[in-house]
C-alpha cells in the first residue's frame, strides 16, 4: 500500500519558515538560526533536555507500579536457577548471620564482651546493615545492568535504582520475619516497642533510596567505583557496630578521642542499627546509656577501662566482678549491664531525630544528584 504522496515526488513539504535545505541538497548550508527558530515556533524541545524536577517527580509517581513490578520480577528471577528457589531469600541472611556468629560469637570472644544476648544483637545488626550494603552495591550497577531497557524505552531513570531498593527491601522484610522468630526464641519479650520497627524501617528505606540514587549515578559515570565499593562497604561495616558495641568504644575512648567517638555514633548505619535493636530487644533497651542512674564504677568496669579517677578501690572491685564480662548474675536478668550506668550522650538521646535527619537529607540530596544527570544515563 502506498500513500498518494509517494507517487507524486516533487511536491515537497516546503512551507513558510522551512529553509530550502530540507530538500535533497547535498552539502547545502542550513542557516543555523532558522531551524532553531522553527523548532521554537512549534514548541519543540531539545531531545536531550532534562525534565523539570516537578514533571520528573510526577512521571516517577506514575511509574510506581513499574517500580514494584520490576522489583518483584527481579526477585523471582534471581533464584530461578537455584533448586531451593525462593528459599534462598530466607536462607541467605540466616547463613550470613551464622558465619558472623561462628567467628565473632564463638571463636573471637572479645567482641561479644559486655553485650547482652549477643546472638540477636549480631543478627539484627547484620540484617539491617546488609539492607544498606546490598542496596549500595546493587544500585551502583543498576544503570549498566539495565542498559537495554534504558535504550529501548523512555521512563524516568530514577525508577530503576528505586526498584533495586525495593528488591532489597523485600529481602529485608523476609530477614525481619526470621529475626522476629529468633528474638522470641531467645526469650526476649514481645512488647509494643516492636511497633517501632515500622518507623525505623521507613527511615531506613528513605536513607537507602537516597544512597541508592547516589550510587546509581556514581556507578554509571565512574566505572572505578565498582572496584572501590567492596572496600568502602567493609570499612563501613566495621565502623558501624554490627559485630561489636559502638557504645563500648565510645566510653573507652571518650577521654582522648571525643570527636571520633561522636563521629562513630553519628554514622547513619549505626543509628539505624541501634534503632532497630532498641525496638526489638528488651535487653538492649535495658542496657542503653542512661537507663540507670549514673555510676562511674559500673560504667567504666563495663567498658573495660582502667579504674577512673574518683572511684574508690573497693567500689571498683565490686563493680568489675558484678559486670565482669557483661554476664548477668542470676536473678537480675537485664539490669546488670554496666552501659546502663553511663551518661547518655547527645546521639543516644536523639537517635530518632538523627535517623530522620539522615533519611531526609540522603533522600533529597540523592534524588537531586541523580536527576541532574538524568539525560546522560544509557549513553555510550
Amino acid at each position: 500500500m502506498r500513500s498518494p504522496r509517494l507517487n507524486s515526488p516533487g511536491q515537497l513539504l516546503e512551507t513558510a519558515g522551512v529553509p530550502a535545505a530540507t530538500q535533497h541538497a547535498p552539502g547545502a548550508d542550513v542557516p543555523a538560526g532558522s531551524l532553531a527558530a522553527l523548532a521554537a515556533q512549534h514548541g519543540l524541545k531539545p531531545s536531550a533536555e532534562r525534565p523539570h524536577l516537578r514533571v520528573y517527580l510526577r512521571e516517577l509517581a506514575r511509574r510506581w507500579s513499574f517500580i514494584m513490578g520490576f522489583a518483584t520480577a527481579r526477585n523471582i528471577a534471581m533464584y530461578t536457577e537455584a533448586k531451593l528457589g525462593q528459599m534462598w531469600q530466607v536462607l541467605a541472611p540466616l547463613l550470613n548471620a551464622g558465619v558472623y556468629f561462628l567467628i565473632f560469637g564463638l571463636l573471637i570472644k572479645g567482641v561479644s564482651r559486655g553485650v547482652p544476648d549477643y546472638l540477636v544483637f549480631l543478627v539484627t545488626g547484620v540484617f539491617v546493615f546488609s539492607f544498606t550494603q546490598r542496596t549500595f552495591i546493587s544500585t551502583s550497577k543498576v544503570i549498566t545492568d539495565s542498559l537495554p531497557l534504558i535504550r529501548a524505552l523512555q521512563f524516568p531513570r530514577a525508577s530503576l535504582p528505586l526498584a533495586y531498593v525495593m528488591i532489597e527491601l523485600q529481602q529485608m522484610l523476609l530477614s525481619l520475619l526470621v529475626l522476629f522468630g529468633l528474638v522470641l526464641l531467645r526469650g526476649e519479650p514481645l512488647t509494643w516497642n516492636w511497633l517501632l520497627v515500622v518507623p525505623a524501617t521507613i527511615l531506613l528505606i528513605m536513607f537507602n533510596a537516597g544512597i541508592g540514587l547516589f550510587a546509581a549515578r556514581t556507578g554509571a559515570r565512574v566505572n572505578d567505583f565498582a572496584q572501590l565499593l567492596p572496600f568502602l562497604m567493609r570499612t563501613w561495616l566495621y565502623v558501624s557496630g554490627v559485630i561489636y558495641s559502638v557504645q563500648q568504644v565510645v566510653v573507652q575512648h571518650a577521654q582522648n578521642f571525643g570527636w571520633v567517638t561522636t563521629l562513630l555514633q553519628l554514622n547513619p548505619a549505626a543509628i539505624y542499627i541501634t534503632l532497630v535493636r532498641d525496638s526489638l530487644l528488651a535487653s538492649q533497651r535495658a542496657s542503653a546509656f542512661g537507663a540507670k542512674p549514673y555510676n562511674a564504677a559500673n560504667c567504666y568496669a563495663w567498658a573495660g577501662t582502667a579504674r577512673p579517677p574518683g572511684v574508690s578501690r573497693s567500689a571498683w572491685i565490686t563493680a568489675t566482678t558484678q559486670v565482669s564480662n557483661g554476664r548477668t548474675p542470676p536473678g537480675h536478668p537485664l539490669s546488670q549491664y554496666g552501659s546502663a550506668y553511663c551518661h547518655p550522650t547527645f546521639v543516644s538521646t536523639h537517635l530518632w531525630q538523627l535517623g530522620a535527619g539522615w533519611a531526609i537529607v540522603a533522600l533529597i540530596l540523592g534524588f537531586w544528584f541523580f536527576w541532574r544527570k538524568e539525560v546522560n544515563y544509557g549513553r555510550g
Binding site: 500500500m1 500513500s3 498518494p4 504522496r5 509517494l6 507524486s8 515526488p9 516533487g10 511536491q11 515537497l12 513539504l13 512551507t15 522551512v18 535545505a21 530540507t22 530538500q23 535533497h24 547535498p26 552539502g27 542550513v30 543555523a32 531551524l35 532553531a36 522553527l38 523548532a39 512549534h42 514548541g43 519543540l44 524541545k45 531539545p46 531531545s47 536531550a48 533536555e49 512521571e59 506514575r62 511509574r63 507500579s65 513499574f66 513490578g69 520490576f70 520480577a73 527481579r74 523471582i76 528471577a77 530461578t80 537495554p148 531497557l149 535504550r151 529501548a152 524505552l153 523512555q154 521512563f155 525508577s159 539525560v375 546522560n376 544509557g378 549513553r379 555510550g380
Partner: protein
C-alpha cells in the same frame, strides 16, 4: 485515503554533530605503570579515541512522515536515531523533538531472565500505561508478536526473531508520537512484516512520525514516504522521491540493479535466468 501529512514539524535536526569517545582503543600499553604516570602527569588517556559519527546533518520531519534512513554500514544511521531519541548528546548543533522519541532496536533486549509475559507487563508499565490498560492490550500484544506458547518462557530462550517481534509488539502497543525503528522488522518472518507494516501505517495515521533504519531497501520503499541517504556521517540526498533516491543509492554502492515497471515504478521481480 486521506493524506496524513501535515506541516507541523515533530523533529528538527539542526546542524547535528555527534562524536563518540571510545575508551581503551589502544594507544598505551594499558599497564598499571603507564596509568600511574598518566595520572601523575595529569595527561588525558591516550587510549580515548574520538569518532566523528555524524558531521553536520539538518532536516525536518513532520507529523505523518515515515522516513527511511539508508546507507552503508557505519554511515551513522543508528547513531542518528540514538541522537534523536536523546540517548547521545550532540557535540554541536541540536535535535529538537515535539515529545520524547521511542527507540526500538533489535539489540534492545528487555529483561532476559524473565518470561515474555512479565516483559510485556513491565515494558508497558515502564511506558507509563496503567494496569487496566495493560490487561486490555495484553492479548493483542501477544497475538501481534506471534510468539505463541513461548510467552510463558524466559526471553533468553527466544530466537532473535521472536525477541525482536515481542519488543516491537510491546513498543507499538502505545501510540508513540515519534517512533524510531532500527532494523527491528528485518528479523521478522513474512507474516510479521505485513502486520508490522500495517501497524507503522496506523501509527503514522495517528499523526505520529516514524523513522526506519533498514538495509532491506524494499522495506523502506514499501513503508516510507521520505528517505534520507547517509554516507560517512553526512546526508547525501534526502527527499520524497523514495524510489529515485534508492535507485541512485544502489548505483553508488554497487548493488544489484532493480528492474522497475516503467509506468508504476514498482519493482519487477528479476526474471529467471535464461537457460544456457
Amino acid at each position: 485515503m486521506a493524506d496524513p501529512q501535515s506541516t507541523e514539524p515533530t523533529v528538527v535536526v539542526d546542524d547535528l554533530h555527534v562524536v563518540y569517545r571510545v575508551y581503551g582503543a589502544g594507544g598505551d600499553r594499558g599497564t598499571a605503570a603507564t596509568a600511574l604516570f598518566r595520572i601523575l602527569g595529569r595527561r588525558r588517556r591516550p587510549s580515548i579515541r574520538e569518532v566523528h559519527a555524524i558531521r553536520g546533518m539538518s532536516f525536518v520531519a513532520y507529523r505523518g512522515d515515515a522516513i527511511g534512513i539508508i546507507g552503508r554500514n557505519g554511515a551513522g544511521k543508528s547513531t542518528l536515531l540514538r541522537a534523536i531519541a536523546g540517548l547521545l548528546p550532540p557535540e554541536r548543533g541540536a535535535v529538537y523533538t515535539m515529545c520524547e522519541a521511542s527507540l526500538l532496536g533489535v539489540n534492545a533486549a528487555l529483561l532476559e531472565d524473565l518470561t515474555g509475559e512479565r516483559n510485556v507487563v513491565l515494558g508497558c508499565l515502564a511506558m507509563g500505561m496503567s494496569k487496566r490498560e495493560i490487561k486490555e492490550k495484553f492479548e493483542h500484544i501477544v497475538d501481534f508478536s506471534g510468539v505463541g506458547e513461548f510467552i510463558h518462557l524466559p526471553m533468553k530462550t527466544y530466537s532473535s526473531g521472536m525477541g525482536s517481534r515481542l519488543r516491537f509488539a510491546i513498543a507499538a502497543a502505545k501510540s508513540h508520537e515519534i517512533l524510531l525503528i532500527d532494523e527491528a522488522l528485518a528479523t521478522g518472518d513474512a507474516e510479521f512484516r505485513v502486520k508490522s507494516h500495517a501497524r507503522i501505517d496506523e501509527l503514522r495515521r495517528q499523526a505520529g512520525t516514524v523513522f526506519l533504519v533498514a538495509h532491506d531497501l524494499e522495506e523502506v520503499e514499501d513503508t516510507c514516504n521520505r528517505v534520507i541517504w547517509l554516507e560517512q556521517g553526512t546526508i547525501v540526498e534526502q527527499g520524497e522521491d523514495v524510489i529515485g533516491i534508492i535507485d541512485r543509492y544502489i548505483d553508488a554502492s554497487g548493488g544489484e540493479k532493480v528492474t522497475r515497471d516503467p509506468v508504476t515504478r514498482k519493482r519487477i521481480s528479476a526474471p529467471e535466468p535464461a537457460p544456457a
